[in-house]
Protein backbone atom coordinates (compact mmCIF):
# COMPACT_ATOMS: atom_id res chain seq x y z
CA UNK A 1 0.00 0.00 0.00
CA UNK A 2 1.74 3.07 -1.27
CA UNK A 3 -0.85 5.38 0.17
CA UNK A 4 0.28 4.61 3.67
CA UNK A 5 3.51 6.44 3.02
CA UNK A 6 1.89 9.78 2.64
CA UNK A 7 1.24 12.02 5.58
CA UNK A 8 -1.89 13.42 4.04
CA UNK A 9 -4.58 12.10 6.40
CA UNK A 10 -7.11 11.98 3.62
CA UNK A 11 -5.23 9.26 1.80
CA UNK A 12 -4.60 7.07 4.80
CA UNK A 13 -6.37 3.72 4.59
CA UNK A 14 -9.51 3.58 6.63
CA UNK A 15 -9.30 1.38 9.66
CA UNK A 16 -12.48 0.69 11.53
CA UNK A 17 -12.08 0.73 15.30
CA UNK A 18 -12.81 -2.65 16.84
CA UNK A 19 -16.43 -2.87 17.83
CA UNK A 20 -17.32 -3.86 21.37
CA UNK A 21 -13.86 -5.04 22.38
CA UNK A 22 -15.20 -7.02 25.31
CA UNK A 23 -18.00 -8.39 23.16
CA UNK A 24 -16.32 -11.68 22.50
CA UNK A 25 -15.52 -12.74 26.02
CA UNK A 26 -18.70 -11.61 27.75
CA UNK A 27 -21.27 -13.51 25.64
CA UNK A 28 -19.05 -16.59 25.68
CA UNK A 29 -19.09 -16.55 29.48
CA UNK A 30 -22.79 -15.83 29.48
CA UNK A 31 -23.35 -18.70 27.05
CA UNK A 32 -21.42 -21.14 29.22
CA UNK A 33 -23.46 -20.01 32.21
CA UNK A 34 -26.68 -20.51 30.26
CA UNK A 35 -25.74 -24.01 29.19
CA UNK A 36 -24.76 -24.88 32.75
CA UNK A 37 -28.02 -23.43 34.04
CA UNK A 38 -30.18 -25.47 31.69
CA UNK A 39 -28.18 -28.59 32.51
CA UNK A 40 -28.66 -28.01 36.24
CA UNK A 41 -32.43 -27.55 35.87
CA UNK A 42 -32.54 -30.72 33.78
CA UNK A 43 -30.52 -32.72 36.31
CA UNK A 44 -32.61 -31.39 39.17
CA UNK A 45 -35.91 -32.27 37.55
CA UNK A 46 -34.54 -35.69 36.77
CA UNK A 47 -33.45 -36.20 40.36
CA UNK A 48 -36.85 -35.13 41.66
CA UNK A 49 -38.56 -37.52 39.25
CA UNK A 50 -36.22 -40.29 40.29
CA UNK A 51 -36.83 -39.66 43.97
CA UNK A 52 -40.61 -39.30 43.82
CA UNK A 53 -41.26 -42.11 41.37
CA UNK A 54 -42.50 -45.42 42.69
CA UNK A 55 -39.57 -47.49 43.89
CA UNK A 56 -40.60 -50.80 42.41
CA UNK A 57 -40.66 -49.52 38.86
CA UNK A 58 -37.99 -48.26 36.47
CA UNK A 59 -36.11 -45.13 37.44
CA UNK A 60 -36.53 -41.85 35.58
CA UNK A 61 -33.13 -42.09 33.92
CA UNK A 62 -33.82 -45.58 32.60
CA UNK A 63 -37.11 -44.46 31.11
CA UNK A 64 -35.60 -41.35 29.57
CA UNK A 65 -32.83 -43.38 27.98
CA UNK A 66 -35.37 -45.85 26.68
CA UNK A 67 -37.31 -43.11 24.87
CA UNK A 68 -34.31 -41.04 23.83
CA UNK A 69 -33.84 -42.63 20.38
CA UNK A 70 -37.49 -42.15 19.46
CA UNK A 71 -37.64 -38.57 20.71
CA UNK A 72 -34.39 -37.81 18.90
CA UNK A 73 -35.87 -39.23 15.70
CA UNK A 74 -38.85 -36.94 16.14
CA UNK A 75 -36.49 -34.03 16.69
CA UNK A 76 -34.62 -34.89 13.48
CA UNK A 77 -37.96 -34.78 11.70
CA UNK A 78 -38.42 -31.25 13.04
CA UNK A 79 -35.03 -30.34 11.61
CA UNK A 80 -35.92 -31.83 8.24
CA UNK A 81 -39.13 -29.79 8.17
CA UNK A 82 -37.22 -26.66 9.18
CA UNK A 83 -34.59 -27.10 6.44
CA UNK A 84 -37.13 -27.78 3.72
CA UNK A 85 -39.48 -24.94 4.65
CA UNK A 86 -36.51 -22.60 4.96
CA UNK A 87 -35.36 -23.59 1.46
CA UNK A 88 -38.81 -23.13 -0.02
CA UNK A 89 -39.42 -19.94 1.94
CA UNK A 90 -36.07 -18.47 0.92
CA UNK A 91 -36.57 -19.24 -2.78
CA UNK A 92 -39.98 -17.58 -2.80
CA UNK A 93 -38.92 -14.82 -0.41
CA UNK A 94 -35.96 -13.73 -2.55
CA UNK A 95 -38.24 -13.33 -5.56
CA UNK A 96 -40.70 -11.32 -3.48
CA UNK A 97 -37.93 -9.22 -1.97
CA UNK A 98 -36.49 -8.31 -5.36
CA UNK A 99 -40.04 -7.69 -6.54
CA UNK A 100 -40.47 -5.22 -3.72
CA UNK A 101 -37.68 -2.99 -5.05
CA UNK A 102 -38.72 -3.35 -8.68
CA UNK A 103 -39.26 -0.10 -10.59
CA UNK A 104 -42.43 -1.63 -12.08
CA UNK A 105 -45.44 -0.99 -9.88
CA UNK A 106 -47.18 -4.08 -11.29
CA UNK A 107 -44.48 -6.21 -9.65
CA UNK A 108 -43.77 -4.08 -6.62
CA UNK A 109 -47.29 -3.72 -5.28
CA UNK A 110 -48.33 -7.39 -5.25
CA UNK A 111 -44.96 -8.34 -3.78
CA UNK A 112 -45.38 -5.71 -1.08
CA UNK A 113 -48.95 -6.76 -0.32
CA UNK A 114 -48.12 -10.47 -0.10
CA UNK A 115 -45.13 -9.74 2.12
CA UNK A 116 -47.12 -7.58 4.50
CA UNK A 117 -49.98 -10.05 4.64
CA UNK A 118 -47.94 -13.16 5.44
CA UNK A 119 -45.53 -11.35 7.71
CA UNK A 120 -48.33 -10.13 9.94
CA UNK A 121 -50.38 -13.31 10.10
CA UNK A 122 -49.99 -15.79 12.96
CA UNK A 123 -47.88 -18.78 11.95
CA UNK A 124 -50.24 -21.34 13.41
CA UNK A 125 -53.21 -19.89 11.55
CA UNK A 126 -51.31 -20.02 8.25
CA UNK A 127 -50.38 -23.60 9.08
CA UNK A 128 -54.03 -24.48 9.66
CA UNK A 129 -54.97 -22.99 6.31
CA UNK A 130 -52.28 -24.96 4.51
CA UNK A 131 -53.31 -28.17 6.25
CA UNK A 132 -57.02 -27.93 5.56
CA UNK A 133 -57.16 -26.14 2.21
CA UNK A 134 -54.65 -28.22 0.25
CA UNK A 135 -55.97 -31.55 -1.01
CA UNK A 136 -54.36 -34.72 0.33
CA UNK A 137 -53.90 -36.10 -3.16
CA UNK A 138 -53.69 -34.54 -6.59
CA UNK A 139 -54.68 -36.88 -9.37
CA UNK A 140 -53.40 -36.10 -12.85
CA UNK A 141 -55.45 -38.53 -14.87
CA UNK A 142 -54.41 -42.02 -13.80
CA UNK A 143 -51.47 -40.91 -11.63
CA UNK A 144 -52.27 -39.77 -8.12
CA UNK A 145 -49.65 -37.62 -6.47
CA UNK A 146 -49.94 -37.96 -2.73
CA UNK A 147 -49.81 -34.73 -0.78
CA UNK A 148 -48.96 -35.95 2.71
CA UNK A 149 -49.52 -33.84 5.77
CA UNK A 150 -45.83 -33.04 6.27
CA UNK A 151 -45.53 -31.55 2.78
CA UNK A 152 -48.51 -29.34 3.56
CA UNK A 153 -46.84 -28.36 6.82
CA UNK A 154 -43.70 -27.35 4.93
CA UNK A 155 -45.77 -25.15 2.66
CA UNK A 156 -47.66 -23.71 5.61
CA UNK A 157 -44.47 -22.79 7.46
CA UNK A 158 -42.77 -21.53 4.29
CA UNK A 159 -45.40 -18.79 3.85
CA UNK A 160 -44.38 -16.62 6.82
CA UNK A 161 -40.73 -17.49 6.20
CA UNK A 162 -41.01 -16.25 2.60
CA UNK A 163 -42.56 -12.98 3.77
CA UNK A 164 -39.80 -12.44 6.35
CA UNK A 165 -37.07 -13.30 3.84
CA UNK A 166 -38.70 -10.86 1.45
CA UNK A 167 -38.30 -8.10 4.03
CA UNK A 168 -34.71 -9.13 4.75
CA UNK A 169 -33.87 -9.01 1.04
CA UNK A 170 -35.57 -5.68 0.54
CA UNK A 171 -33.80 -4.21 3.55
CA UNK A 172 -30.46 -5.64 2.43
CA UNK A 173 -30.78 -4.15 -1.03
CA UNK A 174 -31.95 -0.81 0.31
CA UNK A 175 -29.00 -0.66 2.72
CA UNK A 176 -26.49 -0.49 -0.13
CA UNK A 177 -25.68 3.22 -0.68
CA UNK A 178 -27.33 4.69 -3.75
CA UNK A 179 -23.88 5.68 -4.96
CA UNK A 180 -23.37 2.09 -5.97
CA UNK A 181 -26.41 2.22 -8.24
CA UNK A 182 -25.34 5.54 -9.70
CA UNK A 183 -21.78 4.52 -10.45
CA UNK A 184 -22.99 1.25 -11.97
CA UNK A 185 -25.30 3.22 -14.21
CA UNK A 186 -22.44 5.50 -15.16
CA UNK A 187 -20.45 2.42 -16.15
CA UNK A 188 -23.32 1.35 -18.44
CA UNK A 189 -24.46 -1.65 -16.39
CA UNK A 190 -28.07 -2.59 -17.03
CA UNK A 191 -30.41 -2.70 -14.04
CA UNK A 192 -30.35 -6.47 -13.96
CA UNK A 193 -26.57 -6.56 -14.15
CA UNK A 194 -26.30 -3.98 -11.38
CA UNK A 195 -28.60 -6.01 -9.19
CA UNK A 196 -26.94 -9.39 -9.67
CA UNK A 197 -23.30 -8.34 -10.04
CA UNK A 198 -22.97 -5.33 -7.78
CA UNK A 199 -25.81 -4.86 -5.30
CA UNK A 200 -26.76 -8.40 -4.31
CA UNK A 201 -23.20 -9.66 -3.66
CA UNK A 202 -22.73 -6.82 -1.19
CA UNK A 203 -26.19 -7.12 0.29
CA UNK A 204 -25.97 -10.88 0.88
CA UNK A 205 -23.42 -10.33 3.63
CA UNK A 206 -25.83 -8.07 5.45
CA UNK A 207 -28.78 -10.39 4.88
CA UNK A 208 -27.03 -13.44 6.24
CA UNK A 209 -27.28 -12.74 9.98
CA UNK A 210 -31.01 -11.90 10.01
CA UNK A 211 -31.64 -14.85 7.70
CA UNK A 212 -29.92 -17.17 10.17
CA UNK A 213 -31.91 -15.64 13.00
CA UNK A 214 -35.07 -16.36 11.08
CA UNK A 215 -33.95 -19.94 10.56
CA UNK A 216 -33.40 -20.46 14.28
CA UNK A 217 -36.85 -19.02 14.99
CA UNK A 218 -38.38 -21.27 12.34
CA UNK A 219 -36.68 -24.35 13.78
CA UNK A 220 -38.19 -23.67 17.17
CA UNK A 221 -41.55 -22.92 15.56
CA UNK A 222 -41.65 -26.30 13.81
CA UNK A 223 -43.09 -27.79 17.01
CA UNK A 224 -46.30 -26.04 15.94
CA UNK A 225 -46.91 -28.90 13.53
CA UNK A 226 -47.67 -31.16 16.48
CA UNK A 227 -50.90 -29.19 16.87
CA UNK A 228 -52.12 -30.25 13.43
CA UNK A 229 -51.43 -33.92 14.11
CA UNK A 230 -47.99 -34.48 12.58
CA UNK A 231 -45.67 -36.84 14.44
CA UNK A 232 -42.86 -34.48 15.33
CA UNK A 233 -40.58 -34.42 18.35
CA UNK A 234 -43.17 -32.80 20.59
CA UNK A 235 -45.88 -35.28 19.60
CA UNK A 236 -43.55 -38.19 20.27
CA UNK A 237 -42.54 -36.76 23.63
CA UNK A 238 -46.16 -36.39 24.61
CA UNK A 239 -46.97 -39.91 23.39
CA UNK A 240 -44.03 -41.23 25.42
CA UNK A 241 -45.44 -39.54 28.52
CA UNK A 242 -48.84 -41.09 27.88
CA UNK A 243 -47.29 -44.52 27.43
CA UNK A 244 -45.39 -44.28 30.71
CA UNK A 245 -48.30 -42.83 32.74
CA UNK A 246 -45.78 -41.14 35.02
CA UNK A 247 -46.76 -37.52 35.60
CA UNK A 248 -43.51 -36.80 37.47
CA UNK A 249 -41.58 -37.45 34.26
CA UNK A 250 -43.23 -34.54 32.51
CA UNK A 251 -40.61 -31.92 33.33
CA UNK A 252 -37.51 -33.99 32.50
CA UNK A 253 -39.08 -35.41 29.35
CA UNK A 254 -40.03 -32.02 27.91
CA UNK A 255 -36.68 -30.61 29.03
CA UNK A 256 -34.93 -33.35 27.10
CA UNK A 257 -36.59 -32.17 23.90
CA UNK A 258 -35.92 -28.57 24.85
CA UNK A 259 -32.24 -29.35 25.28
CA UNK A 260 -32.08 -30.85 21.79
CA UNK A 261 -33.52 -27.68 20.27
CA UNK A 262 -31.27 -25.54 22.43
CA UNK A 263 -28.16 -27.48 21.42
CA UNK A 264 -29.08 -26.91 17.79
CA UNK A 265 -30.27 -23.31 17.88
CA UNK A 266 -27.80 -21.78 20.31
CA UNK A 267 -24.72 -22.31 18.10
CA UNK A 268 -26.65 -20.73 15.24
CA UNK A 269 -27.35 -17.71 17.41
CA UNK A 270 -23.65 -17.48 18.39
CA UNK A 271 -22.55 -17.74 14.79
CA UNK A 272 -25.06 -15.05 13.83
CA UNK A 273 -23.62 -12.73 16.46
CA UNK A 274 -20.09 -13.42 15.24
CA UNK A 275 -21.07 -12.71 11.65
CA UNK A 276 -22.85 -9.53 12.65
CA UNK A 277 -19.69 -8.31 14.35
CA UNK A 278 -17.57 -9.22 11.38
CA UNK A 279 -19.77 -7.58 8.79
CA UNK A 280 -20.56 -4.58 10.91
CA UNK A 281 -19.90 -1.44 8.92
CA UNK A 282 -19.67 1.77 10.78
CA UNK A 283 -22.45 4.03 9.58
Amino acid sequence: MRTAATDLPVLKPFRAPPIAPSGLAAPALLGAGLVAGVAIVFAASLAVAQATGPAMRDGAVTILLRWLPLIFQGFLFNLLISVLSMALGTAVGVLFGIGQVSPSAALRQPAWAATQFFRNAPWLVLLFYAMFLLPFEISLGPVAIAFPAWVKAIIGLALPVAANVSEIVRGGIRSIPSGQWESAEALAFSRRQTMWMIILPQAVKRMLPPWMNLYAILTMATTLISVVGIQDGLTVTRAALVAESRPELMLPMYLLLLLMFFAYCYPIARLTMALERRFHVKG
Binding site: E137, G229, R238, A239, L241, V242, A243, S245, P247
Partner: protein, 273 residues
Protein backbone atom coordinates in the same frame (compact mmCIF):
# COMPACT_ATOMS: atom_id res chain seq x y z
CA UNK B 1 -51.24 -21.44 -25.22
CA UNK B 2 -49.09 -24.06 -23.55
CA UNK B 3 -49.41 -22.22 -20.28
CA UNK B 4 -53.16 -22.05 -20.67
CA UNK B 5 -53.33 -25.81 -21.25
CA UNK B 6 -51.21 -26.38 -18.18
CA UNK B 7 -53.46 -24.15 -16.12
CA UNK B 8 -56.58 -25.92 -17.32
CA UNK B 9 -54.98 -29.26 -16.53
CA UNK B 10 -54.04 -28.12 -13.06
CA UNK B 11 -57.57 -26.91 -12.47
CA UNK B 12 -59.05 -30.16 -13.70
CA UNK B 13 -56.65 -32.04 -11.45
CA UNK B 14 -57.82 -30.08 -8.42
CA UNK B 15 -61.41 -30.91 -9.29
CA UNK B 16 -60.57 -34.57 -9.75
CA UNK B 17 -58.87 -34.55 -6.35
CA UNK B 18 -62.20 -33.90 -4.66
CA UNK B 19 -63.63 -37.01 -3.01
CA UNK B 20 -64.94 -39.55 -5.47
CA UNK B 21 -65.41 -42.97 -3.94
CA UNK B 22 -67.88 -44.74 -6.13
CA UNK B 23 -65.62 -47.77 -6.04
CA UNK B 24 -66.18 -50.38 -3.39
CA UNK B 25 -63.81 -49.80 -0.52
CA UNK B 26 -63.31 -53.47 0.35
CA UNK B 27 -62.30 -54.29 -3.22
CA UNK B 28 -59.99 -51.30 -3.22
CA UNK B 29 -58.32 -52.40 0.03
CA UNK B 30 -57.75 -55.88 -1.36
CA UNK B 31 -56.36 -54.44 -4.57
CA UNK B 32 -53.92 -52.21 -2.66
CA UNK B 33 -53.11 -54.98 -0.19
CA UNK B 34 -53.19 -52.46 2.63
CA UNK B 35 -55.83 -51.48 5.16
CA UNK B 36 -55.24 -47.94 6.37
CA UNK B 37 -56.63 -47.23 9.82
CA UNK B 38 -56.65 -43.97 11.73
CA UNK B 39 -55.59 -44.67 15.31
CA UNK B 40 -54.68 -42.78 18.45
CA UNK B 41 -51.14 -42.90 19.70
CA UNK B 42 -51.64 -40.84 22.82
CA UNK B 43 -54.51 -42.56 24.61
CA UNK B 44 -53.30 -45.35 26.79
CA UNK B 45 -54.22 -48.19 26.77
CA UNK B 46 -56.34 -47.97 23.60
CA UNK B 47 -53.56 -46.69 21.39
CA UNK B 48 -50.12 -45.61 22.53
CA UNK B 49 -46.46 -45.74 21.58
CA UNK B 50 -43.95 -48.29 22.77
CA UNK B 51 -40.30 -47.21 22.99
CA UNK B 52 -39.46 -48.74 19.62
CA UNK B 53 -41.91 -46.35 17.98
CA UNK B 54 -44.60 -48.95 17.28
CA UNK B 55 -48.20 -48.10 18.10
CA UNK B 56 -49.82 -50.67 20.38
CA UNK B 57 -53.00 -50.99 22.38
CA UNK B 58 -56.49 -52.41 22.47
CA UNK B 59 -57.71 -50.61 19.37
CA UNK B 60 -54.57 -51.58 17.48
CA UNK B 61 -55.30 -55.25 18.24
CA UNK B 62 -58.78 -54.76 16.80
CA UNK B 63 -57.41 -53.06 13.69
CA UNK B 64 -54.96 -55.91 13.22
CA UNK B 65 -57.87 -58.39 13.46
CA UNK B 66 -59.67 -56.59 10.64
CA UNK B 67 -56.58 -56.50 8.46
CA UNK B 68 -55.86 -60.19 9.03
CA UNK B 69 -59.47 -61.08 8.27
CA UNK B 70 -59.34 -59.28 4.91
CA UNK B 71 -55.89 -60.72 4.37
CA UNK B 72 -54.00 -57.47 3.87
CA UNK B 73 -51.28 -55.53 5.65
CA UNK B 74 -52.20 -53.01 8.33
CA UNK B 75 -51.08 -49.41 7.98
CA UNK B 76 -51.71 -47.12 10.92
CA UNK B 77 -52.04 -43.37 10.62
CA UNK B 78 -51.90 -41.50 13.93
CA UNK B 79 -54.85 -39.13 14.07
CA UNK B 80 -56.14 -36.55 16.50
CA UNK B 81 -59.73 -35.60 17.25
CA UNK B 82 -59.46 -32.59 14.95
CA UNK B 83 -58.43 -34.42 11.79
CA UNK B 84 -59.73 -37.99 11.93
CA UNK B 85 -63.12 -37.38 10.29
CA UNK B 86 -61.53 -35.21 7.62
CA UNK B 87 -58.94 -37.93 6.88
CA UNK B 88 -61.68 -40.53 6.52
CA UNK B 89 -63.79 -38.43 4.20
CA UNK B 90 -60.79 -37.52 2.06
CA UNK B 91 -59.85 -41.17 1.69
CA UNK B 92 -56.53 -40.84 3.52
CA UNK B 93 -57.72 -43.63 5.84
CA UNK B 94 -60.26 -46.43 5.29
CA UNK B 95 -61.64 -46.50 8.82
CA UNK B 96 -61.34 -44.81 12.20
CA UNK B 97 -60.49 -46.81 15.30
CA UNK B 98 -59.54 -43.94 17.54
CA UNK B 99 -61.68 -43.56 20.68
CA UNK B 100 -64.42 -42.17 18.45
CA UNK B 101 -67.58 -41.32 20.39
CA UNK B 102 -70.78 -42.31 18.62
CA UNK B 103 -72.83 -39.10 18.53
CA UNK B 104 -75.86 -38.10 16.48
CA UNK B 105 -73.96 -35.12 15.14
CA UNK B 106 -71.13 -37.28 13.80
CA UNK B 107 -73.56 -39.80 12.34
CA UNK B 108 -74.52 -37.18 9.79
CA UNK B 109 -70.93 -37.13 8.52
CA UNK B 110 -69.69 -40.69 8.83
CA UNK B 111 -71.01 -44.19 9.32
CA UNK B 112 -70.78 -45.80 12.77
CA UNK B 113 -70.35 -49.57 12.99
CA UNK B 114 -72.73 -51.34 15.35
CA UNK B 115 -72.57 -53.07 17.76
CA UNK B 116 -70.28 -50.48 19.32
CA UNK B 117 -67.05 -51.99 20.55
CA UNK B 118 -66.84 -50.03 23.79
CA UNK B 119 -68.74 -47.65 26.03
CA UNK B 120 -67.29 -45.31 28.57
CA UNK B 121 -68.93 -42.99 31.03
CA UNK B 122 -67.78 -39.79 32.66
CA UNK B 123 -66.44 -39.46 36.17
CA UNK B 124 -63.72 -37.60 38.03
CA UNK B 125 -60.56 -38.59 39.80
CA UNK B 126 -60.10 -36.56 42.97
CA UNK B 127 -58.14 -36.65 46.21
CA UNK B 128 -60.15 -38.13 49.07
CA UNK B 129 -59.52 -34.96 51.04
CA UNK B 130 -61.54 -32.94 48.50
CA UNK B 131 -64.68 -34.59 49.87
CA UNK B 132 -66.67 -34.48 46.66
CA UNK B 133 -70.10 -36.07 47.02
CA UNK B 134 -72.10 -35.11 43.97
CA UNK B 135 -71.51 -33.55 40.56
CA UNK B 136 -72.94 -30.23 41.75
CA UNK B 137 -69.98 -29.92 44.15
CA UNK B 138 -67.82 -29.11 41.15
CA UNK B 139 -69.58 -25.83 40.50
CA UNK B 140 -67.17 -22.93 40.19
CA UNK B 141 -64.18 -25.07 41.17
CA UNK B 142 -61.17 -25.83 39.04
CA UNK B 143 -61.42 -29.15 37.26
CA UNK B 144 -58.61 -30.47 35.03
CA UNK B 145 -59.59 -32.01 31.71
CA UNK B 146 -58.06 -33.18 28.46
CA UNK B 147 -58.42 -31.30 25.20
CA UNK B 148 -60.93 -32.72 22.74
CA UNK B 149 -62.70 -35.05 25.18
CA UNK B 150 -66.39 -35.30 24.29
CA UNK B 151 -67.60 -34.94 27.86
CA UNK B 152 -65.94 -31.57 28.50
CA UNK B 153 -68.76 -29.61 26.92
CA UNK B 154 -71.62 -31.34 28.66
CA UNK B 155 -70.02 -31.24 32.09
CA UNK B 156 -69.12 -27.57 31.84
CA UNK B 157 -72.63 -26.71 30.65
CA UNK B 158 -74.48 -28.73 33.24
CA UNK B 159 -72.28 -28.33 36.34
CA UNK B 160 -70.38 -25.14 35.50
CA UNK B 161 -66.96 -26.03 36.89
CA UNK B 162 -63.98 -23.94 35.85
CA UNK B 163 -62.40 -26.33 33.33
CA UNK B 164 -58.62 -26.22 33.02
CA UNK B 165 -57.88 -28.01 29.77
CA UNK B 166 -54.57 -29.78 29.07
CA UNK B 167 -53.26 -31.15 25.79
CA UNK B 168 -52.77 -34.69 27.08
CA UNK B 169 -53.57 -36.98 29.98
CA UNK B 170 -50.17 -36.82 31.78
CA UNK B 171 -50.23 -33.01 31.79
CA UNK B 172 -53.67 -33.12 33.38
CA UNK B 173 -52.75 -35.77 35.96
CA UNK B 174 -49.62 -33.83 36.81
CA UNK B 175 -51.71 -30.73 37.44
CA UNK B 176 -54.04 -32.76 39.66
CA UNK B 177 -51.09 -34.06 41.68
CA UNK B 178 -49.78 -30.52 41.96
CA UNK B 179 -53.15 -29.44 43.43
CA UNK B 180 -53.85 -27.11 40.53
CA UNK B 181 -57.38 -28.41 40.41
CA UNK B 182 -59.80 -30.20 42.67
CA UNK B 183 -60.52 -33.08 40.31
CA UNK B 184 -59.63 -34.60 36.96
CA UNK B 185 -62.46 -35.22 34.50
CA UNK B 186 -62.00 -38.52 32.72
CA UNK B 187 -63.39 -41.79 31.38
CA UNK B 188 -64.55 -43.93 34.32
CA UNK B 189 -62.93 -47.21 33.24
CA UNK B 190 -59.62 -45.43 32.92
CA UNK B 191 -59.99 -43.95 36.38
CA UNK B 192 -60.71 -47.39 37.79
CA UNK B 193 -57.66 -48.76 35.98
CA UNK B 194 -55.49 -45.96 37.33
CA UNK B 195 -56.70 -46.43 40.89
CA UNK B 196 -56.34 -50.19 40.81
CA UNK B 197 -52.86 -49.99 39.27
CA UNK B 198 -51.30 -50.15 42.73
CA UNK B 199 -49.30 -46.96 42.35
CA UNK B 200 -48.84 -45.44 45.84
CA UNK B 201 -49.19 -42.01 44.24
CA UNK B 202 -52.90 -42.62 43.81
CA UNK B 203 -53.45 -44.18 47.24
CA UNK B 204 -55.23 -41.09 48.56
CA UNK B 205 -57.38 -40.57 45.50
CA UNK B 206 -60.85 -41.84 44.66
CA UNK B 207 -63.61 -41.80 42.08
CA UNK B 208 -66.25 -40.14 44.24
CA UNK B 209 -69.16 -39.50 41.86
CA UNK B 210 -71.69 -41.66 40.05
CA UNK B 211 -70.60 -42.24 36.47
CA UNK B 212 -72.71 -40.28 34.03
CA UNK B 213 -73.44 -39.87 30.37
CA UNK B 214 -72.57 -43.30 28.99
CA UNK B 215 -71.03 -42.84 25.58
CA UNK B 216 -70.68 -45.54 22.98
CA UNK B 217 -67.51 -45.76 20.93
CA UNK B 218 -67.64 -46.92 17.34
CA UNK B 219 -65.50 -47.77 14.37
CA UNK B 220 -66.04 -45.00 11.83
CA UNK B 221 -66.36 -45.60 8.10
CA UNK B 222 -67.44 -43.43 5.18
CA UNK B 223 -71.23 -43.12 4.91
CA UNK B 224 -71.46 -45.03 1.62
CA UNK B 225 -69.42 -47.88 3.11
CA UNK B 226 -71.78 -48.37 6.03
CA UNK B 227 -74.14 -50.61 4.09
CA UNK B 228 -71.51 -51.75 1.59
CA UNK B 229 -69.38 -54.88 1.76
CA UNK B 230 -66.79 -53.22 4.00
CA UNK B 231 -69.36 -52.02 6.54
CA UNK B 232 -71.05 -55.42 6.59
CA UNK B 233 -67.78 -57.16 7.28
CA UNK B 234 -66.99 -54.80 10.16
CA UNK B 235 -70.46 -55.21 11.69
CA UNK B 236 -70.10 -58.99 11.60
CA UNK B 237 -66.66 -58.82 13.12
CA UNK B 238 -67.75 -56.44 15.85
CA UNK B 239 -70.71 -58.66 16.81
CA UNK B 240 -68.35 -61.59 16.87
CA UNK B 241 -65.90 -59.78 19.15
CA UNK B 242 -68.69 -59.25 21.64
CA UNK B 243 -70.08 -62.75 21.41
CA UNK B 244 -66.80 -64.60 21.66
CA UNK B 245 -65.67 -62.53 24.62
CA UNK B 246 -62.74 -61.20 22.61
CA UNK B 247 -63.34 -57.62 23.74
CA UNK B 248 -63.49 -58.64 27.39
CA UNK B 249 -60.28 -60.60 26.99
CA UNK B 250 -58.63 -57.60 25.37
CA UNK B 251 -59.69 -55.35 28.24
CA UNK B 252 -58.01 -57.72 30.65
CA UNK B 253 -54.93 -57.92 28.43
CA UNK B 254 -54.53 -54.13 28.46
CA UNK B 255 -55.27 -53.72 32.16
CA UNK B 256 -58.69 -52.14 31.81
CA UNK B 257 -61.33 -53.19 34.30
CA UNK B 258 -64.06 -55.13 32.47
CA UNK B 259 -66.68 -52.54 31.63
CA UNK B 260 -70.39 -53.13 32.38
CA UNK B 261 -71.35 -52.38 28.79
CA UNK B 262 -69.14 -55.14 27.40
CA UNK B 263 -70.23 -57.68 30.00
CA UNK B 264 -73.87 -56.95 29.28
CA UNK B 265 -73.57 -57.02 25.48
CA UNK B 266 -71.64 -60.25 25.72
CA UNK B 267 -74.43 -61.81 27.76
CA UNK B 268 -77.14 -60.49 25.44
CA UNK B 269 -75.51 -61.72 22.24
CA UNK B 270 -74.66 -65.08 23.72
CA UNK B 271 -78.25 -65.52 24.92
CA UNK B 272 -79.58 -64.69 21.46
CA UNK B 273 -77.39 -67.26 19.78
Amino acid sequence: MKRLTALTLAFAATLAALPAFAQDTLAKIKEKGVLTVGVKNDYKPWGFLDPSGKIVGLEIDLAQEVASKIGVKLEMVPVIAANRIEFLRQGRIDMILATLGDTAERRKQIGMIEPNYYAGATNVLAPKSAGLKKWEDLKGRKVCAVQGAYYNRRVSQVYAPELVVFPSVPDGLNALQGNNCVAFLFDDTLIVSTLSGGDPKWANYEMPLTSEDPQLWAIGVRLDDLDGAFGKLLKEMSADWHKSGKLLALETKWGIKQSPYLIETNRKLKGGA
